[in-house]
Structures are given as structure tokens and as C-alpha cells.
Amino acid sequence: MTILLQLALFIGVSPFLSGLISKIKNNLRMRRGMSVFQPYYNLAKLFSKSEVISENASWIFKLTPFVVISSALTASLLVPVIIFSNPLVNAGDFLALIFILALGRFFLVLAGLDTASSFGGMGSSREMFISSLAEPALYLAVFAISLRFGSTSLVEVSQMHTLSASLIVAASALFLVTLAETSRIPVDNQETHLELTMIHEAMVLEYSGKRLALIELSAYLKQMILFFLIAGIIFPIAPFGAVNFTQSFFWLAWFLARIFIIGLIVSVLEVSVAKMRLFRAADFLGFAFVLGIVAVICAILGV
């Protein structure tokens, strides 16, 4: 029951989050922009369409969307939103979550290579480049967080806690990594229509119809999970334990509001900076790594 609720929450809200970011971005650029519900319409449209599959593709290409969606959904179950009576509370920690997201990426990258298109290969190569350089910063941030909480357990991290300098710096490092992982400006650009500048989009260029819908949904889910983790660190909230309706309502409202705040920050950032050249992304992630080191030092000093 808890599992189904949590799945429903993530599947239900994550497209909205993407729609919201896109809406805010457009409004900041003085455009009207699409409806915040556009991602839902897109998913519905893609799900009712038939597919075109490349003649070069093997079973890897056909299997990938299911592995990707399953890894994103599993990761969303590890995040402690509703932890009372959650049977998966012992299944994995922060590190396991990162490894599970890597499973989806591994297959997505293979699928990019599978269709013999140079765009797919280019996207795959760049995706692995960005994600492997993001790893050290990500782990240092988690390291600093775990120094503060005494363990990498996500249950510990999502408890009510007081903020400290180390947590804020660690969360900023995590935020930069999240920008890279969710293919946001300045690392990647979700809105681009030029294959040569795409990273994530180039990789999934050959997908269409229902399989594309699954991949898009996974990307929304991954984004929401990462935002949730950052939000959980900067805006601490007690896990869901409310009994009556009003309490549950306020809990849910605050739960969503803080994720949307992260989304707001992302959208402001996206309209105010330009996309970097691919090899500048290494410097960008290097900066995140330095932030990670600062976070660890802060944690050692106890601030």
C-alpha cells in the first residue's frame, strides 16, 4: 500500500515538476509558454502512438526503456517519503540509490550506440563523460552528508535536523551534480533541436511512441528524486506520520512546495546562464568536486 502510494506520488507529480520549470523559464523570458500540464499531454500522446524502430536495433534497444523505467521507479521507492510501514526501508541506502540510477543510464547509453547512428554514439559518449566526472563530486557530497548524519542511510538523512554549513555546501555540490545529471543548462540543454549540441536527447533520438514515453517519464522521475534529496537536506521535514486529514494535507503541501522551490532555482539559473562547451563541463564538475571537499572540511570542523 505504502509502495503504491509512493509510486503514485512520484509518477503523478514528476511530469508536473518538469512542466512547471519550463513554464517559469518561459515566463522569465517574457513568453507565455506551454501549459504546466504539457508533459502529461505529451506522455498521453506518445503512449497512444505507434513506434518506429531502427532496422539496426537489437533487443538491447527494445529492452532498455523497461530497464530505465524500472531503475527510476525502484530509486523512487528507496527515497523515504512515507516511511512508516515501508517494507523497503532496508533495501538500500544513498549509495545504492546512485548505483540503481547508474543501471538505467548504462542501458540508455547502450541503446544510443545500438542504432548505428553517429548522433546516438555521440550522445552516449558524452553522457558517460559527464556522468563519470560527476561521480567524485557526488560521492564527496554524500560523504560530507554522512559525516553529519552518522550513516548513508536515507532514513537518517530525511529525519528532521538542523542546518549547518557543511550541509549547505554539500547540498550545493549535489545541486551542481543534479544539473549535470538531469541534462540542464549549463551542461546540456533539454530544449535544443540541434543534434550536435544534444547529450541526453541525442542518445534517445531513435526512440518514438510508447518506448519514448517510458524514457521521458524516467527522466522526470530521476529529476524529482534528485530534487527531493536536495530539498530533504536544505529544507528538513519530518517524514510522513500524520494521522488526520488536515495534517496530511499540510504535510503534502510542504513536501511538494520545497521540491518546487528547487525547481524554481533551477529555472532561474537556466535562463540566466549560457550552455557551456562540452569540455568546460569538466571544469564545472571540478568546481562541484571542490565544493564537496569544502563540505567535508566543514563537516570535520563540525560546522
Binding site: 525502484t74 547512428s117 552516449s124 560521492y139 560523504f143 572540511i297
Partner: protein, 610 residues
């Protein structure tokens, strides 16, 4: 001189290594018969079988003898037999060169070991392990430090620790594939046995810097190994470099263990050692599998150059599937075994950081971050290895004409692939066994320690708990994946998916020339790590006349810094001194008689002093 009793040792550490040797050697031996058939004459196949048997036997002896002298004899047999297996393919000039590098490096390593054992003998007066262990307690600290350094260089050469890894990428790919899988999967692991047996068990961790030094060496090894692997286009050489990386990860566990023994943190010491041993057995399994898979590719396509391969997933679907399993486990993806051991090693760093103070925390954090970087690069490397070899369109006639290999070659691989899953899912049980091994090897009492819970949950009970359950994760992944598939099928009508061409920007036809290549795939990494790889390119215009360039040749290479800046100068020095030594050998018999006479005189004068 102490008595020389030939007795075998069967303590938990020996048993563990016996298991690792057997679990890889058995499938490799079965595989070898169909692999060698058709490649060599029947006399040579018999020779290969005999050498293989002696090779396995010598490794079994290395991990069970209880006496330093017999250890050296077994060690030497192992090195020599594996040398013969490296040069087995005598038709290639490369084999001879690879064999030469191997035999020289391995003997340099053995020389260091002999030096270490001689110092130990000086204090113990016996060659027996237990006698030396007792005597080592009285050994002064300085001598212990020297012995440790000698052992580290000696075993580090066999293990392929950077910068002593130079022989590994030559020797491992050149041997027949089943031998590569045993060499990479098992033989280099005997060095880990050596370090645990002689440093932790016999010598006892004396100073704090031992563990830290091993840890730093291990981190550098794993990074250098994987960066080179990422640049490689020869599939077996790529796997050999990745062995350098994985030995680094294993030694991270061992080094952490030594570090914590010295810090008097027995729980963490046992935990990290067990994590190292876990990665050791995992690496044996998946590297064995990957080398056998590479052997299938070589047998089917006749080339090891992945730039000439591609599209093999359609020609050899089962080999492709098995190689994918291996690639997933080595990339530490759940629920396979590599994931568990990498998680455990990372937890060793994370848990350790709560129990040390100040800058040591930062040290452990940076090591953990670099391990994470290694993991990310390993995933990129194996995406490349699998993707370029098996996916997309065939890049040459070799790949087009490849056919699936025989069943006798696939069955051993299925066995190993099943083990990667078993060792991932049964993590909780296996960790319990490995903790016993680690406890007995380090002499730490583990009776009051708990490392895993029931229901297959890994949980180091130290400070605040942290949990991992691979069976639960595997179950959730499988259920959600199939749920996704069922929903997909509910919406999809029959024959819903049309098959068409890959998007070609409106051009007429895409060929395999348009595909991304392995070199292109690793280009971003080549640029990002250019400070270490020092890439350079050779370009050449091929002209028909002065005005018309007919074609353009372009090559890109990376500089092997260790070879260029360490080994080449040393070699040059050796040749130079050998040249000057020639002067005392002019060929005059009178001079040689004078040498003998002088030696005799010196011996008569100095002999009574010894």
C-alpha cells in the same frame, strides 16, 4: 638450519583462495578444449593441457604450502609455466616480446621476495610460517619496515600495481583466452594472498603508514588502470588494463584493513578486509567470464581490434548476452556481484571516517571519491567495450562473417554468469563467510561482531545502521520492469512497431562508416585526461600531385608515461652499463686466468671472516 617439513596449510585464508582458483580454473579448462581445437595441432593442444594442469597445480601449491622455501618454489613454477603459456602462440613475434617483458618483471619481483624472506629467516632461523610469525614479534621496527617494502614491491609486481603493471597489458592478452582468464582472474590474486599472509598474518601491521601507502598505491593503480583501459581498442588488452584497476580496488580493501588494524579498530579492519576479499572473488568470476567472452569473439571474428567489430549481438546472441552480464557486474550495477563489493568497499571508507579524526577523514573521503571516479570510468569503459563490439553494424568483413561459438564454449560462461548473480544475491551469506576468513587472517576475534541481518540484508552494525539488500532490490527491479512491460503491452496493438531506417538527416544511406567508433567514444576522456595521457597525432597527406591531395592519413596515439619516463631510461642505463662492462671481457685467456687467480686469493684471505 630449520627442518624442512613439507606440510600443507588449510586455514580459512587458504581455503578461500583454493575456492577462487578452482571456481575460475574449472570453467576455463572446459572451455579450453573447444577453444584450442582448430587453432593448433593436436600435439600442441596436448601440451597446452599439460601446461594448464601444472599451472593450476602450482597456484594451488602457492596458497597452501606452509614454508617459505616451498612457497618460493611453487611461486617460481607458477611464473615459469605461465611464461610458457604466454609465449604459447609462437607464430607471433608479439608473444615473444610479451613473454620477455613478463619473465623479466616477474623475476625482479621474485628477487624482492627472496630478499624479504632472507631477512625474515635471519630473525627466525626457520622457514616455517608459524616459526617466522613468532619470531617477527621480536623483530625491530626498522627491519619490519624494510621487509614490508620489499614484500610490497615483490607482490606488487605480480599484482600489477602501478608503476609495476607494465608487463600485464602485454602478457595477459597474448596468452590463449582461457589462460588470460586464469591469469587475470586468479594468478595475479596470489599476490593478494601473499600480502595478507606475509604482511598481515606473519609480520603483523607495524606502522600506520603501511596501510596508507598501500591505499594510495591502490587508488593510483585503479585510476591509471581504468584510464588506459578506456583508451584501448584491443579487447583483451582493455580487459588486462581493467585488471590493473580491479586489483587496485581489491588492495583498497586490504589497505584499509591494514590501516584500521593499526588504528585499533578491529570491526572496521575485518569489514574492509572482507570487502577486499569479496571484490577479489567477484573479480575472479567476472573477469574470467569477460576474458572467455573475448576469446569467443576472437575465435569467431579472428580479430581483437574492436574497431573492426560491431553488430556481433545478431551473429552471436548468447555470447553477447553473457558478455553483457560480465560488463554489468564489472560496472558495479545492481543486483550483480560487483555492485556488492564496491558498495562494501565504499562503506569501509564511509564508516571508517566516523571513527578517525581530523585530516584522516578528508583523506578517506578523497580516496572514496576517487574510487567513485574509477567506478564511473569503468562503466564508460565497458559501455564502450560492449557497445562497440556487439552493437550497431559490423565494421568489417571479420565481423560480418562471425558465427556463434560452440556450446562447449558457452556452457562454462553460463556457469560464471550465473555465479555473478548468485554472488550478488547471496551477499549476506557470503559476507559472513568472508568475515571469518578476514578474522582468521588478521588474528582478530570476530565472535561478538555482526555484519549482516537475516533476510539477506547487509548491515554493518557500527554506529547508526545502514542497510543493503540485493535480493529485495532485484525483486523490486524485476517486478517494476515487468509491470512496465505489461502496461506497455496493454497499450500496444499487434504489429504496432514499424521497422525503418535509422535517422540519417535525409542523406541517402547510412553505413557502418557513420557509426561512432571506440576511439571517438573515448575522445572526451582523452581530452579531459590529456595531462596524463599526453595524446599526440600523426597526420600525413597522400598526394596525387602537388595540387591534389588524394587522401589523408590520421592517427592518434597516447604516450605511455610509465614506459617512457621510467622504464625506458632504466633500460637505457642497463644497456649502457652492460656496454661498459664489456671492456673487462676482451677475450684474452690470460686476463681470465688472472681474474680467477685474484678471486681465489681474495677468497683465501676473506673466507675465515664469514
Amino acid at each position: 638450519m630449520g627442518s624442512l617439513n613439507f606440510t600443507l596449510l588449510f586455514d580459512p585464508l587458504c581455503l578461500f583462495f583454493l575456492f577462487v582458483i578452482c571456481v575460475v580454473s574449472l570453467p576455463a579448462a572446459i572451455y579450453s578444449f573447444s577453444y584450442l581445437k582448430g587453432e593448433y595441432s593436436s600435439a600442441k593442444i596436448t601440451l597446452a593441457a599439460i601446461l594448464l594442469a601444472v599451472f593450476i597445480f602450482s597456484m594451488l601449491m602457492v596458497v597452501t604450502v606452509s614454508n617459505v622455501l616451498f612457497f618460493l618454489v611453487a611461486w617460481e613454477i607458477m611464473s615459469l609455466v605461465s611464461y610458457f603459456l604466454v609465449v604459447f602462440d609462437t607464430t607471433h613475434e608479439r608473444s615473444v616480446k610479451a613473454g620477455m617483458i613478463y619473465i623479466v618483471m616477474t623475476h625482479i619481483g621474485t628477487a624482492f621476495l627472496i630478499a624479504a624472506f632472507m631477512i625474515m629467516y635471519k630473525y627466525a632461523g626457520s622457514f616455517d610460517f608459524l616459526a617466522i610469525k613468532n619470531a617477527c614479534q621480536a623483530m625491530p621496527g626498522g627491519a619490519k619496515n624494510i621487509v614490508f617494502l620489499l614484500l610490497l614491491v615483490g607482490f606488487g609486481t605480480k599484482a600489477g600495481l602501478v608503476p609495476l603493471h607494465i608487463w600485464l597489458p602485454y602478457a595477459h592478452p597474448q596468452a590463449p583466452s582461457h589462460i588470460s582468464s586464469i591469469m587475470s582472474g586468479v594468478m595475479i590474486k596470489t599476490a593478494v594472498y601473499g600480502i595478507i599472509r606475509f604482511v598481515i598474518f606473519i609480520l603483523g601491521v607495524h606502522s600506520g603508514w603501511w596501510g596508507a601507502l598501500l591505499l594510495v598505491t591502490a587508488v593510483i593503480s585503479s585510476l591509471v588502470g581504468i584510464i588506459y583501459a578506456l583508451m584501448e581498442r584491443d579487447i583483451k588488452r582493455l580487459l588486462a588494463y581493467s585488471s590493473v584497476e580491479n586489483m587496485g580496488i581489491i588492495f583498497m580493501g586490504v589497505g584499509l584493513g591494514m590501516f584500521f588494524i593499526n588504528k585499533n579498530l578491529p570491526y572496521l579492519a575485518v569489514f574492509s578486509l572482507a570487502a577486499g576479499l569479496y571484490h577479489l572473488v567477484n573479480h575472479a568470476i567476472f573477469k574470467g567470464l569477460l576474458f572467455l567472452g573475448a576469446g569467443c569473439v576472437y575465435k569467431a571474428a579472428g580479430t581483437r581490434d574492436i574497431e573492426k567489430l560491431g553488430g556481433l549481438i545478431k551473429k552471436m546472441p548468447q555470447t553477447a548476452f553473457l558478455f553483457l552480464i560480465g560488463a554489468m557486474s564489472i560496472s558495479a550495477l545492481p543486483p550483480f556481484n560487483g555492485f556488492v563489493s564496491e558498495w562494501l568497499t565504499l562503506q569501509g571508507f564511509f564508516l571508517g571516517a566516523h571513527n578517525v579524526v581530523g585530516g584522516t577523514k578528508l583523506f578517506l573521503g578523497i580516496c572514496a571519491a576517487l574510487l567513485a571516479l574509477t567506478g564511473g570510468l569503468a562503466a564508460a569503459c565497458f559501455v564502450k567495450a560492449f557497445g562497440v563490439t556487439f552493437l550497431a553494424l559490423p565494421r568489417s568483413r571479420y565481423a560480418e562473417e562471425a558465427r556463434e561459438v560452440s556450446l562447449a564454449m558457452r556452457i562454462p560462461m553460463f556457469f560464471l554468469a550465473a555465479l555473478t548473480l548468485v554472488f550478488g544475491l547471496a551477499a549476506s551469506l557470503i559476507l559472513r563467510l568472508l568475515v571469518k576468513v578476514a578474522g582468521s587472517a588478521s588474528g582478530i576475534d570476530i565472535s561478538g561482531m555482526s555484519f549482516s541481518l537475516n533476510n539477506f540484508v547487509l548491515s554493518p552494525q557500527m554506529g547508526k545502521s545502514v542497510y543493503l539488500s540485493t535480493p529485495q532490490l532485484a525483486l523490486v527491479l524485476a517486478v517494476l520492469g515487468s509491470a512496465g512491460f505489461i502496461i506497455y503491452r496493454l497499450f500496444a496493438a499487434k504489429r504496432d512497431a514499424a521497422v525503418s531506417k535509422t535517422w540519417d538527416c535525409g542523406y541517402y544511406k547510412l553505413t557502418s562508416r557513420n557509426e561512432y567508433t571506440a576511439t571517438a567514444f573515448s575522445k572526451p576522456f582523452r581530452i579531459a585526461f590529456s595531462f596524463f595521457l599526453l595524446p599526440y597525432r600523426k597526420t600525413q597527406k597522400i598526394r596525387e600531385s602537388f595540387y591534389h591531395v588524394k587522401s589523408f592519413a590520421y592517427e592518434t596515439h597516447t604516450t605511455k608515461v610509465f614506459k617512457k619516463y621510467i622504464y625506458d631510461p632504466v633500460l637505457a642505463l642497463v644497456f649502457k652499463s652492460a656496454k661498459s662492462m664489456r671492456r673487462i671481457q676482451p677475450g684474452s685467456i690470460h686476463l681470465y686466468l688472472a681474474y680467477i687467480f685474484i678471486t681465489l686469493l681474495l677468497l683465501i684471505i676473506f673466507m675465515p671472516k664469514f
